[in-house]
């Protein structure tokens, strides 16, 4: 019957379109995520420098956490007042404590700062005596469960425990890093994981991830979460966490056959060497060891930037072709601020750091070889040959890693030799991906279990799921366009020689890619991002139409405003560094000084007077200090369609 065929063909076409949209939505989320990491790593030397030196302005002396003992937190002196109704801990911990924690967190309660500090203190003491690489064995009575990134999603952790049981001597677990950041419940997650670690030290194992890193936490939300939840003791908690994170083991090996690391490996990875290093020296992958910083500084003036992330043979984590000019970080401004007598790093320290960075940051690739991870800006891409040779060298048969979100929660590559396991479902957006964990018995055949946390009572149709995710991906992309407006306009106008206001689809796609470098299907996205003329050309001004500045400040020139949008996240990090007591306030003088440093670092030409005007205009109550949360809020962009969207939902 003809009617049926017609409907079937239409419907299959419709589903194909949806699938296409789902794919590009995924690409957008992934590109933007990695571009953010890349930016963070490119600015790492700047952030390191700020951490080391700039904090002197506060009169608190050079803050070098490498030399600081985090034990200063005197949890014994903190009183738990009677009005506190959350769980109480006493050490050594027992099952009743972990149960109490789980039910308290389900009820949205917060653990008292005193107990958090004590737990961290105990965890630090315990981790100190653990080796860099942990060796486990399976047995028939107990399979080992391996979980990937959780990223502050407590619901996912609770769902895993619900489906797979709580950690216990009969039910051992390995959590493969990235417990914190992005989600809102990172504190709860580490409290639960650390409590189980202390309760069952032989049956609960934690690998370090690239987000167990205090500089990453400045950007991706964990620092903020801690400060919001613990107004008085947040700073002590963060300080102690720096040590705890740096003491987490970096790898786990099961039955001498299965290697578990957060990111991956490189062609330099040497497990024997890794066994022998002092892992706690690497406080952050984003802090070059001291000597490298010197190299960076000396390399100014056109020389190569040395000591970047990734194995030394490959050229620095950033390849020039990937960068737009504004991002090129030759760190010119660092020079004049580096103290004259820098301590040279001990020989080998840089090597240790590189080995760890490769474990925490790398991703597998299809082609053979080992190349710098230009997409993320750190670690490397390792091919099947690199996997094969490492496994063979160490008599291993399988590599399990996490670090990358996968739509199904897991993925197998390199001829079945590499497994990616990712445990945060709905990572990019409600419905974007499933979470998974993997179980290994003595036969070492991986068995996968998938799940998805759902907040909706009614199941969304495929169409609704795609539309929701697509909407937020496109919004993120529009913000990117907006933040690069003048650069884009320049490029558009180069193509539009006759000032018609429109350019061809390929010209538009080329222009946008040359500025944003996100490697996205711009032609396909074109109708979603801009208005088209009847014959399909792009009215390029329309891509900035649906978005506008949150709070127009008359004193701010459009150029400066655009720069502020673009570097909003970086500025927040810098503010957080300067604001050592996390009060949310910095002085006008500090603001002015930082901004100048930062803009010269980025080579953004902003006139001094414009910065002064800006500083004055944001000191709303004229008391000489700036509430920078409020300040950054003013530089958030707003989508015109927001109200309409809500009505539709």
């Amino acid at each position: 019957m003809k009617a049926a065929i017609l409907i079937q063909r239409w419907y299959r076409r419709y589903i194909a379109r949806l699938e296409m949209r789902r794919r590009y939505t995924w690409s957008i989320f992934q590109s933007i995520e990695y571009a953010g990491e890349q930016e963070q790593l490119q600015l790492s030397s700047f952030f390191s420098f700020m951490l080391d030196n700039f904090t002197q302005l506060n009169g608190s002396g050079p803050g070098d956490p490498m030399n600081e003992e985090g034990g200063g937190a005197r949890y014994e002196l903190i009183e738990v007042c009677d009005s506190y109704c959350g769980p109480h801990l006493s050490f050594p911990l027992s099952v009743s404590h972990t149960n109490a924690l789980l039910s308290a967190f389900k009820e949205q309660q917060t653990l008292h700062a005193r107990y958090v500090l004590q737990l961290l203190h105990e965890t630090k003491k315990f981790l100190k005596q653990m080796p860099n690489i942990i060796h486990l064995s399976t047995s028939y009575s107990k399979e080992i469960t391996i979980c990937g990134d959780l990223h502050g999603r407590l619901d996912d952790l609770l769902l895993i425990f619900y489906k797979n049981g709580l950690p216990s001597p009969e039910n051992p677990y390995v959590f493969n890093g990235d417990f914190v950041d992005r989600g809102k419940k990172s504190v709860e997650i580490i409290v639960i994981l650390f409590a189980f670690l202390l309760l069952y030290p032989d049956h609960m194992h934690l690998n370090r991830g690239n987000h167990e890193d205090h500089i990453m936490n400045l950007r991706y939300g964990f620092t903020k979460e801690v400060m919001q939840k613990y107004k008085n003791h947040g700073r002590d908690i963060l300080k102690l966490l720096q040590d705890v994170f740096s003491l987490l083991p970096v790898a786990t090996v099961i039955d001498s056959k299965v290697l578990i690391v957060h990111g991956g490996i490189s062609d330099m990875t040497d497990l024997h060497f890794l066994d022998s290093i002092e892992r706690h020296k690497v406080k952050s992958a984003l802090r070059l060891p001291r000597r490298s910083l010197d190299c960076v500084v000396m390399a100014r003036g056109g020389g190569q930037v040395k000591g970047q992330l990734g194995s030394s043979r490959h050229h620095p984590g950033l390849s020039p072709s990937m960068l737009s000019p504004a991002h090129l970080s030759q760190v010119p401004c660092l020079h004049s601020f580096v103290p004259t007598e820098t301590l040279p790093a001990a020989p080998g320290e840089e090597e240790e750091w590189k080995q760890i960075v490769d474990l925490l940051w790398s991703d597998p690739k299809v082609q053979n070889g080992c190349t710098p991870n230009t997409f993320r800006g750190g670690g490397c891409y390792f091919g099947p040959d690199v996997t094969h040779s490492l496994l063979q060298r160490h008599g291993l048969s399988l590599l399990i890693r996490s670090h990358q979100c996968k739509q199904e929660g897991y993925e197998v590559c390199h001829d079945g030799k590499v497994i990616t396991i990712f445990s945060a479902s709905n990572y990019y957006e409600e419905g974007s991906n499933r979470g998974a964990y993997v179980k290994l018995g003595p036969d070492l055949t991986p068995r996968f279990f998938q799940y998805q946390v759902s907040h909706c009572t009614r199941k969304l149709t495929l169409h609704q799921r795609v539309s929701v995710a697509e909407g937020s991906a496109l919004k993120a992309l529009q913000e990117k366009l907006f933040a690069h407006r003048s650069e884009l306009m320049n490029t558009f106008q180069k193509y539009d020689r006759n000032n018609t206001g429109w350019i061809s689809p390929s010209e538009w796609a080329q222009a946008v890619e040359s500025v944003l470098r996100l490697d996205l299907p711009w032609r396909t996205l074109r109708p979603r991002l801009a208005r088209l003329t009847q014959d399909g050309n792009v009215e390029y001004l329309s891509c900035f139409e649906n978005i506008y500045a949150g709070q127009p400040l008359p004193q701010v020139t459009p150029n400066l405003a655009e720069t502020l949008y673009r570097y909003r996240t970086d500025l927040e990090i810098i503010f957080n560094i300067i604001d050592k007591d996390h009060s949310g306030l910095i002085s006008i003088e500090e603001f002015r000084h930082t901004w100048k440093l930062f803009s010269s670092h980025l080579r953004v030409a902003v006139e001094d007077s414009a910065v002064d005007d800006l500083a004055r205009s944001i000191d709303f109550n004229k008391d000489g200090s700036i509430d920078f949360n409020e300040f950054l809020e003013a530089f958030r962009v707003v989508h015109r369609l927001d109200t309409k969207d809500q009505q539709q939902e």
Binding site: A3, A4, L6, Q8, R9, M20, L462, P521
Partner: protein, 162 residues
Amino acid sequence: MAEDEDSAEAIVSQVHRKIREAFNLFDVTSNKTVDVREIGTIIRSLGCFPTEGELHEIITEIEEEESTGSIRFEKFLPTMTKVLLERKFRPIPEDRLLQAFELLDPEKKGYLEPEELKKFMTQEGEPFSHDEMEEMLSAAVDPDKNVIFYKDFVGMMTYDDQ
């Protein structure tokens, strides 16, 4: 705006870019191949309405001699370019789609029962698989009335078209 945009060569290169972009979205491992099961989705997402038979023919044409389960871009590109330039598998106008639903509803109720639609879609034409049918019903059935108001459904299916 250069005038060579309209030359034959330029049109071919435009079509090539369009195909490459669609293909790349499905080339998850970036090695210039896609899973053969995705070919239908790629062709359809490029605006074509092939029948299952026609789709099968294309796949046979571009498959490797020894079936590998994947399709290479080099093989896909010329075939797909031809399809698009010769305007094969042209879209079926929207009003025909609505007419088709009306044919299934001779009493002109304005809606179909899930069971009716299911019968037509899984027993006639190029039958839907179980999954396809479930997905279609979950999108088409009105949750309150538990019937398919096909006019709305047609609107939804055709809405996103650019």
